[in-house]
């Protein structure tokens, strides 16, 4: 007990003895820890924020009936929508059923896609629409027309269009012209029930598009769950989108990881420079301590405890500064407030203590000091 209190007493004096040099090391550690803590906070939050952002970029999972032979289109029961809802999967951001109907506008053939507009809007907020969106899934009067289809049919927002399929017809008013760069550009999108009525396919859908949030592995897990709960239907992730999202997330995480490594190396070099100067100052003290009977491990424990304390302090101060920095980065880059994550604190402190101990390498060399030479003044 007395020895431990003496250890702490000497440690306290050591921390006060070379305040200038230790302050430089502490600044290097705090700066490094601040950037690391900020990046770790951003990393933890960025994945969540980015996957949320990705979910506005279109469907990433498709549910469809297996293909059938002949000319008949494969169709599924629209009750699949209720079964998906009943599963209560929190990662599902939006679910949009589609029924594709081959129709005619006058003599021009066109594909009519019946869907739920509210869900389509949630998963495709990036669609460019000239005119107005159709907000409600129950709106049976309006439609959106793909930009190429509008050009061929001579339609504009406010135009009326009459569609015919066999003996059935439906009249719609064009709310907006939509440009997606995809198949929708050649289609007319309308209310699901309108399309079912026109095709005479009440209660049927061609496929269901889902927007599922999460990392690629989480999306895979949701896909498996859906597949198990929806026998007789194909549940497939849209590989290109999932892979692109995974690549972007991986690159951001890689960038953050290597930035942290680089910052830690730079911090360590800063600490190393201070500690090298400190080691020169401490040679005489170490020589004396060895002459008094101090073993190398016992003496080194003092200096490593000093470096470790600096690392812990640097980690703590750096974490606090990092929270502020993360908030700033979050607002600037993601336009959201990134909240402080407490699990980053022990990681930051552990990393900074590690850097401080590695930077204290010159102090460890003091163990080789020969007391006779030091005490002679060599």
């Amino acid at each position: 007990m007395a020895s431990r209190s003496m250890f702490l007493r000497i440690l306290w004096k050591l921390l006060g003895a070379s305040r200038g040099r230790l302050a430089v090391a502490l600044i290097a550690l705090t700066s490094g820890a601040a950037v690391c803590s900020a990046l770790l906070n951003v990393n933890l939050d960025a994945e969540r924020k980015l996957t949320q952002e990705f979910r506005t970029l279109g469907a990433n999972v498709v549910i469809a009936p297996p293909p059938v032979s002949g000319n008949d289109a494969a169709l599924a029961d629209a009750a699949v929508m209720d079964r998906i809802a009943a599963m209560q999967v929190p990662q599902i951001v939006a679910t949009a059923p589609y029924l594709y109907v081959a129709a005619n506008s006058g003599t021009q053939p066109v594909i009519l896609a019946g869907t739920w507009f509210d869900q389509v809007a949630r998963m495709n907020s990036w669609w460019k629409i000239e005119g107005t969106r159709v907000a409600s899934r129950d709106d049976r009067e309006h439609c959106l027309v793909g930009i190429r289809a509008a050009r061929e049919l001579g339609l504009a927002p406010g135009s009326s269009v009459q569609l015919r399929s066999g003996e059935r017809t439906v009249s719609l008013t064009v709310a907006g012209i939509v440009a997606t760069g995809g198949a929708e550009d050649n289609q007319i999108l309308t209310n699901l029930e309108s399309a079912q009525t026109l095709a005479g396919l009440a209660g049927r859908v061609s496929l269901v598009q889902l927007s599922v949030s999460g990392t690629p592995s989480e999306i895979e897990a949701v896909t498996r769950r859906l597949s198990n709960n929806l026998p007789g239907l194909d549940v497939r992730p849209v590989r290109q989108i999932a892979a692109a999202e995974g690549t972007i997330l991986g690159r951001i995480q890689g960038l953050i990881f290597w930035t942290i490594v680089l910052i830690l190396i730079l911090s360590m070099l800063g600490v190393l420079a201070s500690m090298a100067a400190l080691a020169m100052e401490r040679r005489r003290d170490v020589g004396l301590m060895k002459a008094l009977g101090g073993t190398v491990p016992r003496i080194m424990r003092l200096f490593l405890a000093e470096a470790g304390t600096l690392g812990a302090l640097g980690g703590l101060f750096g974490f606090l500064a990092g929270v502020v920095l993360a908030r700033w980065i979050g607002e600037r880059v993601f336009g959201v407030v990134i909240s402080a994550r407490l699990e980053v604190l022990p990681i930051t402190i552990a990393l900074t203590v590690g850097v401080a101990l590695a930077g204290a390498f010159p102090l460890r060399l003091l163990g080789r000091v020969r007391p006779a030479e030091i005490l002679r003044g060599e």
Binding site: M6, A291, G293
Partner: protein, 225 residues
């Protein structure tokens, strides 16, 4: 009675230079020995070997039955903590520790610290009112007295003093010599390296070195009286 210190044909070479050349002598427990000689005669080298700070190149050195030449680095460290009390010309106190803590540092490396015992040791050398002063706040004489208190705190078998008054004025020199004299009177074994004939005359015996060789061992007339 066996000698406390037995030096037999001791040699120390630094490359081609022979710092000590077949030096032999014995020291009995309780003796005050002055090690004398001109600069470069090997006095400090001898003290360093006796103190376990350096290893001999040849010959034997036995202190309290321990053969220093056969000790490992770890055993030498333990030997210094247990058997030796050092007093240096340059005082060699840790500048950021108080007088009390400098004394306690020797206790810390020896076994456990005892603040009261350290304070008593400082009081014995007349520094009872300077416990919390750091070396920079003490005079040269006071610093040397702290070093003496530190050397004594673990009750060493031998006190080794290398020019202990070399950096002191006359008044402080007298104080330090009085302390050494008191230690001698109380039975401590003291080996002092010195250039000073006056200090040499206070010793029981003088071991005189020249060019690393033992020139003579003499008994000063003052000690004989």
């Amino acid at each position: 009675m066996a000698s406390l210190v037995h030096v037999d044909q001791l040699e120390k070479r630094f490359g081609e230079v022979r710092a000590l050349d077949r030096v032999s002598f014995d020291v009995q427990a309780g003796e005050w020995i002055a090690i004398m000689g001109p600069s470069g005669s090997g006095k400090t080298t001898l003290i360093n070997i006796l103190g376990g700070l350096d290893q001999p190149s040849g010959g034997r050195v036995l202190v309290d039955g321990l053969d220093i030449g056969n000790l490992s680095e770890r055993e030498l460290t333990r030997y210094r903590a247990d058997k030796i009390g050092f007093v240096f010309q340059q005082f060699h106190l840790v500048p950021y520790l108080t007088a009390l803590e400098n004394v306690m540092l020797a206790q810390y490396f020896h076994s456990i610290t005892d603040e009261k015992e350290a304070a008593d040791a400082l009081a014995r050398v007349g520094l009872g009112d300077r416990l919390e002063h750091v070396p920079g706040e003490l005079s040269g004489g006071e610093q040397q007295r702290v070093a003496i208190a530190r050397a004594l705190i673990n009750q060493p078998k031998v006190i080794l003093a290398d020019e202990p008054t070399g950096n002191l004025d006359e008044a402080n020199e007298a104080l330090v010599l009085k302390l050494l004299h008191e230690l001698h009177e109380s039975g401590h074994t003291i080996l002092v390296v010195t250039h000073s004939q006056a200090i040499g005359n206070l010793a029981d015996r003088r071991v005189e070195l020249e060019h690393g060789r033992l020139a003579r061992i003499s008994v000063p007339s003052l000690a004989k009286e």
